[in-house]
Symmetry: D3
Subunit: 132 residues, 6 copies
């Protein structure tokens, strides 16, 4: 499998750092910063496995990956901070606000109306913050 962020001299950690910065921007970095005094090594795992390994794979484009992540986090319904980061990330990699709203409305079918509503209200906050 070729990598989306290929660089022969680059390890998983560096590739993951670049991918996280590109995808999640400031919101991702805030998570990393918050880990510094509780579990700094977990920040490395977060760079390495989700971003250095998974998001860097070339078999699915980043727009599709964020659709999958937004859907999963809205359906699970117990990770609102991460859902907001990925709504932000979805917009960063090319999803329109309308598309984000469609994904969240669709979750009413698979995880119930409360999950969809709570996802939509999370999106509302993210959209409001970006509008500022």
């Amino acid at each position: 499998m070729t990598q989306r962020f290929p660089n022969a001299d680059e390890g998983r950690l560096e590739r993951g750092k670049r991918a996280l910065a590109e995808i999640d921007g400031r919101a991702g970095q805030n998570v990393i910063d918050a880990l510094a005094d509780i579990a700094p090594e977990f920040a490395n795992y977060l760079f390495e496995f989700p971003f250095g390994d998974i998001y860097s794979r070339s078999g699915l484009d980043l727009r599709a990956r964020e659709i999958a992540t937004i859907a999963a986090l809205a359906a699970l319904g117990n990770a609102t901070p991460q859902l907001k980061v990925h709504i932000e990330a979805g917009l960063n990699v090319g999803l329109s606000r309308e598309e984000v709203v469609e994904i969240l409305m669709q979750m009413a079918v698979y995880a119930g109306f409360p999950a969809a509503l709570n996802g939509l209200f999370a999106a509302k906050e993210v959209f409001a913050q970006r509008a500022g």
Copy 2:
């Protein structure tokens, strides 16, 4: 919002039936058939809301909708029969097997390795059945 399956003379029920047939094919019809002697009116709701309303909306293409559904069902991990129907549906609307596998692997990040593994094994069964 314009409809993906527009037809001025067509109601939600008919539009949903057409959408379900196009997206889920035989697997969707099997679900409808199984409802006949327990909750036949629920079959109508299933045509109308998920398919007549949501999947028929034009704001997100069917490929993206199936990415969202496969991700959500794999993450929730308690609806294997429906996950299989939607892996099938994803292939019907243009996802490659490789893309389905990528979506499922990505769920390891958001819902854990067991959810990803069980999703991959569901895909394995669907792929095997279609190969025959």
Copy 3:
């Protein structure tokens, strides 16, 4: 199936609006209002399917429907705002406070003590607000 809110000239949307107003009162309307600038069409779906279709069915009385909803939302444990709306709704359609508390305590058996505790604390807030 006859409808709980029958009216030959009334469609699902109108029936759902009447049912939501009767069941959830002001709390339901607040949810609809909050959707206006993010997903106004989702407000229609919320009127139509849950209230115009499901709650309007005559096969189960509203008291029984609210018992089911309070139990499900407390067990899932990831939709506190909706749980509060339905504790309110349960009181509106005839459940006593004691009965609401009994339902929530019972969830300790099926979803664990934390789910029951968090449900009871949600009820405590709703009861306090109505007492004022």
Copy 4:
């Protein structure tokens, strides 16, 4: 709180055994039997807390308690054997088949269509077995 199954000389264990027998019948006893060689003391906890304590409380009638349990187990979606036992129990304490179906259909709103479908198919099996 007075007890539904009062008997001054009876402890929680005995009260729970009577309540389980009355509510779940043979299906409940099968669970107890299956625990004998793995965790016999857990059978006592099952008699004592859910049945000797909770179901024996007088603040909510058994019909309402089974509505709550069927709703919660269908919404959680990861305890099909227990859902079947309580669909059986619901019929034992006075719910009609139609009412059971209504409760399960309603779960589409709160936990998604797959949860409702899987609940309905569990009911279908229970109804078929009782018909025999």
Copy 5:
């Protein structure tokens, strides 16, 4: 099974009260206090079954029991207040902060990175409060 907190003259309620005080300390008592005006009898159930029955069993030491509880609550991800109480409890019965962090990081494997992150941030708050 012998009891961890044996005392021939002591019933489940008293044993549970002693166990809760020893394990959860002030945080456990706060939960009991908060139940006083909504469901005082549920406080007794909380003393009796989890603490008087389960935690008082001698087959698994309290350190192991708190490992199990912290892992389960972090994985479920919908009971943050209870997770904090049990991170506190884990430290009370001999887990080091490093061990608590290891348990929470491990949940990334079984329940996903968001569950692990939210568990780590809960631990960060508990650690900060105890440091004061």
Copy 6:
């Protein structure tokens, strides 16, 4: 952080393979084998992150790690095959059958009686298979 399985010349993949073999034995290898024709690269991720990274960390012993995993998987209740692998693994790294049963019974408190029952029945199957 020193590693539980240190070897200067060894990478994450090799360390993970050794850890998986030691902890999960044949059951772990079966999972890897089943991935070969659907997602062979996911087998590498499974060696690398859970086993090469997390289980190889020295901050928590393997007995404690398996307590955490058994508790989490029983509480989540939607990954029975993985729960069985880790009940097996727990026995491999020093947990007694009695301790496994205690962990599973305790989950009744945090995830409800059905989760505990289904965990106990999974353990019953594992114990029976090893007895042969």
